[in-house]
Subunit: 451 residues, 2 copies
Amino acid sequence: MSDRKLRLGAFIMATGHHIAAWRHPGSQIDSGVNIDHYIEVAKTAERGLFDQVFVADSPGVARRGQAEAFSRQGRVSYFEPVTLWSALAAVTRHIGFVATASTTYEDPFLLARKFASLDHISKGRAAWNVVTTGAEDVHGNFGLDKHPDPELRYERAHEFIDVVKGLWDSFEDDAFLRDPQSGVYFDPDKLHTLNHSGKHFKVSGPLNLERSPQGYPVIVQAGSSEPGRELAAATAEAIFTAWTSLAEAQAFYRDVKGRLAKYGRRPDQLLVLPGISPVIGRTQAEAEAKWAELQRLIHPSVGLGTLRALWKDEDFAGWDLDAPPPYFPEPDKGRNSRQHVVLQLAKREGYTVRQLYEYLAGARGHWVVVGTPEHIADQMQAWFENEAADGFNVMPPVLPESLNEFVDLVVPELQRRGLFRTAYEGRTLRENLGLERPVNRYTLERGAKAA
Amino acid sequence: MSDRKLRLGAFIMATGHHIAAWRHPGSQIDSGVNIDHYIEVAKTAERGLFDQVFVADSPGVARRGQAEAFSRQGRVSYFEPVTLWSALAAVTRHIGFVATASTTYEDPFLLARKFASLDHISKGRAAWNVVTTGAEDVHGNFGLDKHPDPELRYERAHEFIDVVKGLWDSFEDDAFLRDPQSGVYFDPDKLHTLNHSGKHFKVSGPLNLERSPQGYPVIVQAGSSEPGRELAAATAEAIFTAWTSLAEAQAFYRDVKGRLAKYGRRPDQLLVLPGISPVIGRTQAEAEAKWAELQRLIHPSVGLGTLRALWKDEDFAGWDLDAPPPYFPEPDKGRNSRQHVVLQLAKREGYTVRQLYEYLAGARGHWVVVGTPEHIADQMQAWFENEAADGFNVMPPVLPESLNEFVDLVVPELQRRGLFRTAYEGRTLRENLGLERPVNRYTLERGAKAA
């Protein structure tokens, strides 16, 4: 048995990952704005020895579909991630905090400052999930006429991360003497002004905050597109991704690990963490009944909303939910092979409209595993031991209920198998994840000159 | 005895308000980045039934003077305010949190979001101290070639606040039904898109966060310039200010209260809170000895640095610190009458160079009261009962020591006199301060239409 251990993150989507979670009695119905809910969930994840909790984010309201479907959307009101995690940092000791923040819509100086603050406040437990923001309905909040194209967004992201890391290096680690006798507080030779001037940003620095416990918060990336993979290979230390089969996950794992060498990085410097949404029962039948109960909570107008990605101009009026779709659209050419797969499946299996939207909406494109703790551990072990995953982003379908079940039932099973820790190894998130603390660039230069 | 009570804020300048506080054994030397220090201080303020804690802020390093003087500067590394207060919100129950944030350098959508998050997380204890940023050395952090002029900064500030309030009203208070039976989460008719388009900002909204417990976080303003007073009269609910005599404070109080009527506001809708830096001893002699000890800790190069505002091009080489200044400069014409007063005083009293810089640096322009708890309470009472103050922003010279002394010695004296609360009155900061909760603009419109 190797020493390699699973890394576990808990994906905290307010009421839960399932699209109808908020209607389930096991969820905290107002959880997006309920700090006590988040405290409970973070403490549960810490009890389960998770490496980190994670929140997704978009800086705006995604207004999709007609008012009637929109009114059933449980994800319109939620905390800004860094503000949220800072509150939880004060009431936890070990768990790491991954906050999503956008390089397209935030400012590099302010972002560098808030994440460095979180890293200090949490004593080394902060991580930044770098996103370029996929949603097309937020640009108006920032005075833009349109959402920038992916190419521009990723170009900006590379430069943004570069600036932020430069700001985090403003003070060398040993810059602060704080000697009351001599009256010297810090060494100005160890304070560095970045003076960045690039295509997208002009940022002088220095940051008004000393280097944080982890040097840099852990850099996380969550896009699996071609430019997303490249950004991850260049800069990220963990990548969240969505695959529903071992073969796909293995291909992705090989692909991103293979991109590291050209940036002078080793494969173990980027952790690949696919999402898994576990539906846990003490028996297989109990788990399946739970899943069916959740699926039944998907309101037809919400379910039909998810079909709009396939039937673009259809309003579904008069469709019989319990019969197969009255016709099938041509799938978009090339662009989305997943659409094609889904339509083929629906035809082959003779899915009713309801079965089809339940299939699509319930999983939200992620890997749903329905079964006993042993079955779920089997699946996780297979991916972990076969170059598909270094760990998982666990997406509890209903919060807090499903996270409690995972911690009480699946974690002990993973521990019995020697796959998961039985106590935190380190003090910081980096130490728990087995990631190195980056050396300050100016300290490196100083060392190079001295050598 | 009237029911009117003093409002008290604690001004938390990391190691303390005194310029040499960090060298004093009663200070926490690394407090700018020590979360446990802030937790202790916030809990002390809460034990003392303070309304709020307050942090000043500037988004950058103020690099003033030569490297030698700069190296003695204790205020170069500190937390971003909202991130800081959010952590403390989780470990306190009553105290309010005033975070300073700049309308010149922040983004209105992101600012609205983080303050609304803090208001939810703290269950109604957030306040925003609106500043336009006075420092001229931070613009480079945001890609600007120069610091905008005051006129432009204040124009932008008015529009910024207007946008932020509009975003805070995005959802009406009763927008969220959260009915699991019907599957309706919220009422889209109670979600409003701002669509602001002005001279400085174009912001569509809506904010992706429901209305917070206080409706809006309390709006605070801290500038006493002409445009600062006007901004306060138009928008603020509390104003922090610096005066060293009762007569000056009274003139200011009358002036700002007199500006409210033209904005349709009542005098009690803006609280005037001058700063007071109390140096507390059980006897007058003990207090004076404490003050002398602090003043002695001002390093000559730091002290001389404060004289640079008067002697602009002087490098002070060869000056005898224990003799009067070798010459006196002409004070700047008109622009700064305070300079003139200080120079007159120094000549009249025959101050040595050291006495002069101690006079200037120790107080930082604020009202220092040195004496017994009774003496300090006398002074506060005189201002409070004579239309100079609705309360005070207490600036402990050394933290945590001086705040402990204030809470243990001065607060009970104020309570004995019936000037200060003996228990928190409300649940939110607004309730404790006696400020109304603003009605959502769209709910108002709806009411007007219905009437």
